[in-house]
């Protein structure tokens, strides 16, 4: 039994989501290899080789992998799949984009967003916005799965010394081209890796008002999250959306401000260790899952909280 984990990276840095995926892959009960497909990504391969529990790193370094286009990377993984019993990727937008393409080409059902590995062929995954958990057994000989970061502890980033094998690029179909990206730059921790998250909702009322969330977050060393309504209204960019169809987070502390608590939002944060809700409506559903609820006007409470810390 050997599993291949698709590394999450940006050619320069290995992203922490890879570490959780390595843990999930190791729970399948065999060797774990990591694939780094990128351009100028030697440093990423070096970092992957240091992950505890990884025995081999495959490095496919080619210009066509520089932006991780699914059209180019899927054929590479398919060409390697013969040597593997399982292909694993973190549930990131990149993993979600690439892996189903691999599964279909292998004629295998993908198991999406695995939260728990019961055995090498049986997995727990959320359905209906996490209101139900399905235990599914795969009858395919190869397993192709994305894994939820919050379901698995991160493997140690150091301590390993895997062999790095350089592999050739696969033929690229030439039907897609990267045009550009507008990536958010921030000194705050990444949402999915943060210990504390302060999230704002529609109740913030404007993008200007979001600055009180940011200011509180900075005081706490926290990441900033948002509800869909806040993103739709243009208060903050899409990469902050927490929820069923956004990011799944489980920090030590999640502070929901001006967020009502729709099931789609809860789906993304209800596994947080401690939840605080600040909302002026005492009937807001968010209070049903909050450990500490404060019924208050956020424009008073948030600055006051920042001061009290």
């Amino acid at each position: 039994m050997t599993a291949l984990v698709l590394a999450e990276h940006d050619n320069a840095e290995l992203k922490p989501a890879t570490l959780n995926a390595v843990t999930a892959a190791s729970q399948l009960g065999g060797d774990v290899h990591v694939l780094v497909a990128g351009s100028g990504a030697q440093a990423v391969a070096d970092a992957a080789a240091r992950i505890a529990g990884v025995s081999v790193v495959l490095l496919a370094d080619d210009a066509s992998y520089g932006n991780r286009l699914a059209e180019n990377i899927a054929p590479l993984i398919v060409s390697l799949a013969g040597d593997y019993d399982a292909i694993v990727a973190p549930t990131t937008t990149s993993g979600k984009n690439i892996l189903p393409r691999v599964a279909a080409q292998l004629d295998v059902a993908q198991i999406s967003d695995v939260m728990k590995v019961e055995s090498a062929d049986t997995f727990v995954r959320p359905i209906y916005a996490g209101n139900a958990l399905a235990t599914v057994q795969s009858t395919d000989s190869k397993k192709v799965m994305t894994v939820r970061g919050t379901g698995f502890p991160a493997a140690a980033a150091t301590g390993g010394s895997a062999e790095i094998r350089t592999i050739a690029a696969a033929a690229n179909p030439g039907n897609s081209r990267f045009v550009g990206a507008e990536l958010a730059k921030s000194d705050r921790p990444e949402l999915t890796a943060a210990k504390i998250i302060v999230s704002g909702g529609r109740g913030m009322g404007s993008s200007g008002a979001f600055s009180i969330i940011e200011s509180l977050a900075d005081k706490l060393g926290a990441a900033v999250g948002a509800s869909r309504a806040a993103v739709d209204a243009g208060f903050i960019s899409n990469d902050h959306q927490v929820g069923q169809t956004g990011k799944i987070v489980a920090p030590q502390l999640y502070i929901a401000v001006g967020i009502s608590g729709a099931i789609q939002h809860l789906a993304g944060m209800k596994d947080s260790k401690v939840i605080v809700a600040i909302n002026k409506d005492e009937e807001a559903p968010i209070f049903q899952i909050a450990d500490y609820g404060l019924v208050a006007d956020l424009f008073q409470a948030v600055p006051e909280l920042e001061k009290a810390l």
Partner: protein, 249 residues
């Protein structure tokens, strides 16, 4: 160009799913069902492309029970031209849906297929990418902008770090994200007109596709409930609890 829009009938997004007592699945009896919200966005985008003179015909397709005809009628009322139901009472997994859609694509030859990024019942987020793989087409997933540029399309995608734009040759696959557009409501006259639009009913066997599932659902359970919390009266009390009771700051 012709645009194909696959639409799925799912539990309405306002309804909280309840697990059946025997743990075999989720109780859908007497539950409000609707078109998957991401598919409404897909239908809307196709209509806008037609209104902009970039598409001639929009075909809505659904795979599901007889009642999925209602979902297709909704798509027709919004502005799709005709519809195809591949009728089955079985659970059809994304891989099998993709195979059926490939067969429809082979027959209809659309230039663009716009799907939702995710069905809010199975939360798979697979079908569009799988269809792209089976057809060997490029894919613009999680789209927030779709522009026809020359003889291809440019798709701006919502990704974990922000936004990214890719250029794709046609034919291509697009899957929708929430910010792509705001779907219209069907007007009453259009709902009446939709009743007369063509809706063909087929079976998986008509397309020669094997839809047997690859995953066995062993059980479906409710997640652990969070223990109820408390209301605090003041910020001082909140800070005290976070420091001394929860120990998280």
């Amino acid at each position: 160009m012709k645009i194909l829009v696959p639409v799925k009938r799912v539990i309405d997004y306002n309804v909280k799913a309840r697990v059946k007592a025997d743990k075999t699945g989720v109780d859908l009896a007497n539950v409000k069902m609707s078109m998957n919200p991401f598919d409404e966005i897909a239908v809307e985008e196709a209509i806008r492309k037609k209104e902009a003179g970039q598409a001639e015909e929009i075909i809505a397709v659904s795979i599901g029970p007889a009642q999925a005809q209602e979902t297709l009628r909704t798509a027709l009322a919004m502005g799709a031209d005709r519809a195809i139901l591949i009728q089955t009472d079985d659970i059809v997994e994304p891989l099998a849906v993709a195979k059926l859609l490939k067969a429809v694509v082979d027959a209809e030859q659309p230039k663009l297929v716009i799907l939702g990024k995710q069905a809010i019942d199975d939360d798979s987020n697979q079908t569009g990418q799988m269809l792209a793989a089976l057809l060997g087409w490029p894919q613009g997933t999680f789209a927030s902008i779709v522009k026809v540029v020359g003889d291809g399309i440019e798709v701006t995608r919502e990704v974990d770090g922000g936004l990214e734009t890719v250029a794709l040759t046609l034919p291509a696959i697009v899957t929708t994200d929430l910010r792509l557009n705001e779907p219209r409501y069907a007007s009453l006259p259009n709902i009446m007109k939709a009743k007369k639009k063509q809706l063909d009913v087929k079976t998986a066997a008509d397309y020669g596709v094997d839809i047997s599932p690859r995953l066995k659902t062993l059980k479906v359970e409710e997640p652990a409930k969070r223990a109820g919390g408390i209301k605090v009266k003041t910020i001082e009390e909140l800070v005290d609890k976070l420091k001394n009771e929860a120990g998280v700051i």
